[in-house]
């Protein structure tokens, strides 16, 4: 984190109610360029609602969103995407039956004009896809290889590379490592590190403390729709983070019976 920079995105006292359910009760988080901000919390803590508010899926009931210092009202995800806020979803990032190149440019297809007609510029799309994949360390058999043949980690990497290629300033990663094996997780974490070094602000949602500590600069813990504070890297131990996420006492008791393995 570079303190000279102004925060890229500020979420101030965000509240979100769904009918009688209060999903978020005043959450404030700010994210700086080039920072990896980890958002931790157990299931149901409000992480998903919070990032959906950030990415324009939900409108906050109360509170304001400042993006590059200006107040924003996102009508839908497209608004957020065009402002530079991209989300990489847990399971829904890629379409397995489509080629990597078609997936990479999905929703942002390059076109070339032939007469009055606009056509999908496959040559350009294939070239860029191969280049970007090489940068991220994925060797494709060809740009027409189906995404279904890639591993889960590679799919996340394609999705991240895609978001960055299309000018994401804030990259929201929704549990990108939750379904991955050890080595694939390491690859995704390395990708996050690469992206952060390019100056992109990364919001990394996870409930795995070790994954968070591996790449995170700051850590915000959500519990029952509220923040339990934000801490800097080096100022918090894994155990403290774990306890905050689980809401403290019960887990300590549980951990005792499990011999400290959780």
């Amino acid at each position: 984190m570079n303190p000279e920079h102004a925060p890229l995105i500020q979420m101030k006292n965000i509240e979100k109610h769904f009918g009688r359910v209060i999903a978020l009760a005043g959450v404030s988080v700010d994210v700086f360029p080039g920072e990896c901000h980890c958002l931790l919390g157990d299931n149901g803590a409000g992480k998903s609602t919070f990032i959906k508010t950030m990415s324009g899926v939900h409108k906050p009931t109360n509170g304001e969103i400042l993006f590059e210092g200006k107040q924003m009202h996102f009508a839908d995800p497209r608004d957020a995407i065009s402002a530079g806020i991209a989300t990489v979803h847990q399971h829904l990032a890629m379409i397995p039956l489509m080629s990597v190149s078609r997936n990479f440019f999905m929703g942002n297809e390059p076109v070339k004009k032939i007469g009055p007609m606009k056509f999908f510029d496959h040559d350009y799309a294939n070239k860029v896809t191969m280049e970007e994949m090489r940068k991220m360390g994925i060797n494709l058999r060809g740009p027409d290889q189906a995404v279904g043949t890639l591993s889960g980690g590679e799919r996340q990497t394609v999705a991240i590379a895609r978001a960055v290629h299309f000018g994401a300033k804030v990259l929201i990663l929704d549990e990108p490592t939750s379904a991955l094996g050890v080595r694939q997780t390491a690859n995704v974490l390395a990708t996050i590190d690469k992206v952060r070094k390019q100056g992109v602000a990364v919001v990394f949602i996870t409930h795995n403390v070790r994954h968070a500590l591996a790449v995170g600069d700051r850590f915000t813990v959500l519990n029952r729709g509220q923040t339990l504070g934000t801490s800097q890297r080096g100022q918090i131990t894994p155990d403290e983070l774990q306890d905050m996420m689980a809401g403290g006492q019960e887990l300590v008791a549980l951990e005792g019976s499990l011999g400290g393995t959780v």
Binding site: H89, L92, L97, M98, R102, V111, G148, T149
Partner: protein, 374 residues
């Protein structure tokens, strides 16, 4: 771990090289191409002398194939977009009936009857699509409802207005109509006359049309079929919208997250399917000179079968318009070929069932290859 077990940077030691054979196998058209070759080989061997491959015979199965092709293109793009339309057959009956009622009963000029019918049919397609995307119900159910609704109207309207279920007389009304000729006319008549004069195709030996070729020209039905296949193929594979069609059917949620207007794509595909059904209906009305309430029965399933033979997945997101066109060709050639070969025509249904099952099993296998599932 010793360094000897380290994989090289460029390849994963656990991924087998994909053979060219398997690579060819994942092209969606493959089933259609193989099927077409097989079907033609079969009938060239067993029905060559039956007249199936003289000018009239070719025109015969070409027209049947073209009919299947027109509705298969719409069904194909819709299926790739992840939806079904079971109301295609009823739409054919309904749209044909509208043209007949407008032009004969109400006495409108035929061009106006055709245009108004297209507007109504495409609006119903849009309504189908709108209900599907708004309610989230399976398109199977929504369009099944329209299968009955439209068929009901196709019977009710002529019954109430004319006290019969067949309305004729469109042929006379369509004489000299510019738009009717776009659906019912024939082109390249000079070329066919030239082929007749030069003995390439047969000519009438006697009677009032002595010297004229037995096949006078290329029916607009076939022109429509080929044009729809070409346009459909280009839209699907070469345009941005085509990518959206694949995306909408492959995984609607992922597509939405990437900014693809999934609902719009699906509604447009329902409208296109209705458009194709109406093209079919208009060509048929112009050919027969009238409309019947029972036209188009079971056509929705025949369209879906042609699409599946052409390699599309029933679950959406994968398929080919060229494949669907070949599926329709296989369909038409076999249906008419069995007739030429003197085989009992009811066996055609047996053939349909068998080839449908085979195609679905093959497609499922291909899907596993593409996605790497086991």
């Amino acid at each position: 771990m010793t360094s000897a077990t380290q994989p090289t940077a460029n390849s994963d030691e656990r991924v087998k090289e994909i053979s060219n054979f398997r690579n060819a196998l994942i092209r969606p058209e493959l089933g259609g191409i193989v099927g077409t070759i097989a079907v033609f080989t079969f009938f060239l061997l067993f029905a060559f002398d039956s007249g199936m491959f003289n000018s009239q015979g070719i025109m015969n199965w070409s027209q049947i194939s073209a009919q299947f092709m027109i509705i298969a293109v719409g069904a194909c793009l819709l299926m790739i977009a992840g939806e079904f339309d079971l109301s295609v057959g009823s739409m054919i009956g309904f749209a044909g009936m509208l043209i007949a009622i407008f032009s004969v009963t109400l006495g409108w000029p035929v061009w106006m009857a055709i245009i108004v019918t297209f507007v109504i049919a495409v609006s119903i397609g849009a309504l189908n699509g709108f209900i599907v995307v708004r309610t989230g119900l399976p398109s199977f159910i929504v369009t099944l409802a329209f299968l009955f609704i439209l068929r009901g109207f196709a019977i009710y309207l002529p019954q109430t207005i004319e006290r019969k279920t067949i309305i004729g007389g469109v042929g006379d009304a369509a004489q000299g109509d510019w738009l009717a000729a776009v659906f019912g006319g024939k082109i390249f008549t000079g070329f066919f006359q030239w082929m007749g004069d030069n003995g390439i195709i047969a000519v009438f030996e006697r009677g009032t049309r002595k010297g004229q070729p037995v096949v006078e020209g290329l029916p607009m039905l076939i022109v429509w079929a080929i044009a729809l296949v070409i346009v459909g193929h280009i839209i699907l594979t070469k345009t941005r919208f085509g990518n959206w069609i694949f995306a909408a059917g492959g995984d609607a949620e992922a597509a939405r997250n990437s900014g693809v207007p999934v609902d719009k794509v699906k509604i447009l595909m329902f409208m296109f399917t209705a458009f194709c059904a109406t093209v079919f209906a208009t060509c048929q009305v112009m050919e027969f000179g009238g409309a019947g309430s029972d036209r188009g029965v079971l056509k929705e399933f025949e369209a879906i079968i042609a699409v599946v033979i052409g390699g599309a997945l029933l679950t959406g997101g994968y398929g080919s318009v060229i494949g669907a066109g070949l599926g329709a060709l296989i369909f038409g050639v076999v249906q008419q070929g069995l007739f030429f070969a003197g085989v009992e025509s009811s066996l055609f249904r047996v053939f349909l069932g068998v080839i449908l099952l085979g195609a679905v099993i093959l497609n499922t296998y291909i899907r596993r290859i593409i996605t790497g599932e086991r």
